[in-house]
């Protein structure tokens, strides 16, 4: 009895440091946001009071919220498959014995180690109308000039491309590690059977990579809703909210307008969406993933 109790105490003590950090910086803020989302924003002359679901009603009627949500879904839809596909392609490419392999790996990984703010500033120059890099190349090839970040049609795609460029190198590392974990005997066996390169990839490599794909997918989904640094640098949500993502809008409401309660309500919605995404991925997709 005594030893069981001490073992339990021991266990909790070991958990404590991580637990404290999690509770203080993750769980409590989430719960606090949830509670605050039902009250009005405190102002010096008008203290906070309970307002029920008024903040959520405001959200339903807020066109900028809907636009940000739609933008974010398009952003996710655009970046996730593209980043994962590119990562896989690059990993398979640099997994082979090609000349300059180390250099190629390093080059693909470089965008990952650069801070997003720096990356966004570099891309801001790429996209600059008239004398930006993209414009110089385009005009050299005889294409018409285009204001990539300054028109509603292309701005979201332009910032999504930056995210893809930034992330695929990171995902590549996971695929590369997984590829190197695949036994070379499988490749030899496939070669003996006369399987084509494509068949080998489709029947052997890709299924064996599924656990990695799941892991990468989860990260990609989270990142699609979490990365807004480049939005702040490149467009600040413009033109006319065409690149406003959900988290960026939360920042704006919370820290530019100081409407903290409404920002809390928006946060709760974002949290709920991410929770559903995580549940689907862990609960449903994981069962479909082929483990050896």
């Amino acid at each position: 009895m005594n030893s069981r109790l001490s073992a339990a105490v021991h266990g909790w003590l070991l958990l404590m440091p991580a637990m404290l950090l999690l509770v203080a910086f993750t769980h409590w803020p989430a719960v606090a946001s949830f509670i605050e989302s039902f009250s009005s924003t405190p102002r010096p002359r008008r203290p906070s009071r309970f307002v029920g679901v008024a903040n959520y009603e405001q959200m339903l009627a807020d066109p900028v919220f809907w636009q940000s949500l739609a933008n974010n879904l398009w952003f996710a839809l655009g970046t996730i498959p593209l980043a994962i596909g590119l990562a896989l392609l690059m990993a398979i490419w640099v997994n082979d014995r090609i000349p300059g392999r180390t250099f190629a790996r390093m080059a693909y990984f470089t965008p990952t180690i650069l801070p997003m703010i720096a990356v966004a500033n570099i891309w801001l120059f790429f996209y600059t109308p008239q004398y930006g890099l993209l414009e110089q190349v385009a005009s050299g090839l005889g294409f018409a000039s285009h204001n990539w970040l300054g028109s509603r049609e292309t701005a979201l795609a332009a910032v999504a491309l930056v995210a893809v460029w930034k992330e695929s190198g990171f995902f590549m590392i996971f695929y590369l590690a997984a590829l190197q974990g695949i036994s070379p005997t499988l490749a030899e066996a496939a070669a003996l059977e006369g399987a084509s390169r494509w068949t080998f990839f489709r029947r052997v490599q890709f299924p064996l990579l599924m656990p990695t794909t799941l892991f990468v997918l989860i990260n990609a989904v989270i990142n699609a809703f979490r990365t807004v640094d480049h939005i702040i640098v490149m467009t600040r949500g413009g033109p006319d909210n065409a690149t406003s993502l959900l988290l960026f809008y939360i920042y704006q409401v919370g820290f530019n307008f100081w409407d903290t309660s409404y920002a809390a309500a928006l946060t709760v919605v974002l949290l709920a969406m991410l929770a559903i995404a995580a549940l689907v991925q862990y609960g449903w997709l994981e069962r479909k993933v082929h483990y050896r």
């Binding site: 204001n147 413009g238 033109p239």
Partner: protein, 429 residues
């Protein structure tokens, strides 16, 4: 009241007896947050001023902190205010005055102005700048990096287009006519040089306000609780702006970056630009061509809103710190220093006395462009400033961008902006 009595006492002491004692003891430390919204090595200039001040007043130690753009600085100051330890002194947009008052983040400055010299100093600021610094009979901000919008033009490109290089467009019609001559296209229709440029990110509301003033309407009332975005003059203003790109095709289509506009001008990608006088020194240092500065072209009248930042003193600082911050701000806006600051940056010298200094007279004699912003002050109007200013200006800015990108007609965009501003401002009336 208590505080003011206390301040009077402590200041009198500080002025006469206590100064040597204070100098020997620990110095009063004040933190000073400031933004940079123009090109050039502004941080070095500010650090230099703070060091100079500390040499003159060893009893006060100023720590200047560069805090990003105006918006970022406001975020940092208000976040620090809410956590209880704001920077003692900060330079924030004069238009955020109502927001700062509503958040009870700043103190009125009348209590610090006691001697006749202080009063003379306060009275000497240009009235145009004080409009955005006073409310309810109190002064809340000290004008510092203030500006108006001016038109810069590239004389070389004017000459190449067969225009008089010494003559800037004086009216809206002339502005379009000049810009048409200045826009250069190749055979395929690709533009290598635009006629004119009015940036539309960040300060889009400010540019629209200039156009609206020229078309004879103001954007908001002086109390900051009512906007007039749907007035005919404002619609005319936005229509003119939209037409520059969509009808006359003399302005880059879509949204034009505030930050890269000076660069575009320096690269010769646009022959004219509308931007703050605060960019004057940057352009002067980096332009490899002759350039001119003029007041904005007139429509029904001339005009520009004032703009830029004021010093604000934090409510949550100690009285000693507040007094020290006031002394620093007062020192920074002395005529000689205001003149120096204006020469170093291009911002308008904030007081009449600044233009009466020998330094400034010499500068203006050798570089007449430096006086344009001051002369334009005669036509200047208070900048758009309301309660919940960031939110109201975003509503306007978003709709300006919608009109410029062609997704809304100008009148529809301005009606939407007005409806949103009404919703935000109703509780403040």
């Amino acid at each position: 009241m208590d505080r003011r009595h206390f301040l009077t006492g402590s200041a009198a002491a500080a002025a006469s007896l206590a100064r040597p004692a204070l100098a020997q003891g620990t110095a009063t430390e004040i933190s000073f947050f400031y933004p940079v919204a123009v090109g050039g090595a502004i941080t070095r200039v500010i650090d230099g001023y703070a060091a100079d001040f500390s040499r003159e007043r060893p009893d006060i130690k100023v720590t200047p902190v560069y805090a990003g753009t105006y918006q970022e600085t406001l975020v940092k100051v208000l976040t620090a205010h809410k956590s209880g330890t704001p920077p003692t002194l900060s330079v924030l947009l004069s238009t955020d005055m109502f927001t700062l008052i509503d958040e009870e983040a700043i103190v009125p400055l009348n209590g610090f102005v006691r001697t006749d010299a202080d009063k003379a100093w306060l009275d000497d600021f240009y009235t145009g700048f004080m409009l955005n610094s006073q409310s309810g009979g109190q002064t809340w901000g000290i004008p510092f990096q203030r500006s108006t919008i001016v038109l810069y033009w590239n004389k070389d490109l004017f000459r190449q287009a067969g225009l008089d290089p010494e003559k800037a467009p004086a009216s809206w019609a002339e502005h379009v006519a000049f810009a048409e001559k200045l826009t250069r296209r190749d055979a395929a229709g690709n533009v290598s040089q635009w006629g004119t440029q009015i940036p539309s990110t960040g300060f889009g509301y400010w540019m629209l306000q200039a156009l609206a003033i020229e078309a004879g309407d103001v954007l908001a009332n002086q109390e900051g609780d009512r906007t007039f975005f749907d007035k005919p003059g404002v619609t005319e203003a936005l229509q003119y702006w939209v037409d520059l790109a969509q009808k006359h095709k003399v302005h880059a289509p879509g949204i034009v970056e505030w930050g890269t506009t000076p660069r575009d001008f320096l690269e010769g990608k646009t022959a004219m630009m509308w931007t703050t006088t605060g960019n004057l020194t940057n352009i002067r240092t980096n332009a490899r061509f002759g350039f001119g500065v003029a007041m904005l072209p007139a429509n029904k009248r001339r005009g520009s809103p004032t703009g830029g930042g004021n010093f604000h003193i934090a409510r949550k600082a100690s009285p000693t710190q507040q007094e020290a911050a006031f002394r620093f701000a007062r020192w920074m806006t002395q005529p000689e220093r205001a003149a120096r600051w204006s020469i170093d940056t291009g911002y308008v010298g904030v007081s009449r006395a600044a233009y009466a200094t020998q330094t400034m007279k010499d500068h203006v004699a050798g570089f007449p462009a430096a006086a344009v912003a001051r002369d334009q002050l005669e036509f200047a109007v208070a900048e758009l400033s309301t309660h919940e200013n960031q939110r109201v200006t975003k509503a306007l800015g978003d709709n300006i961008q919608a009109a410029l990108t062609g997704s809304k007609a100008p009148d529809r965009a301005l009606r939407d902006a007005q409806a949103e501003a009404e919703r935000i401002l109703r509780p403040y009336r």
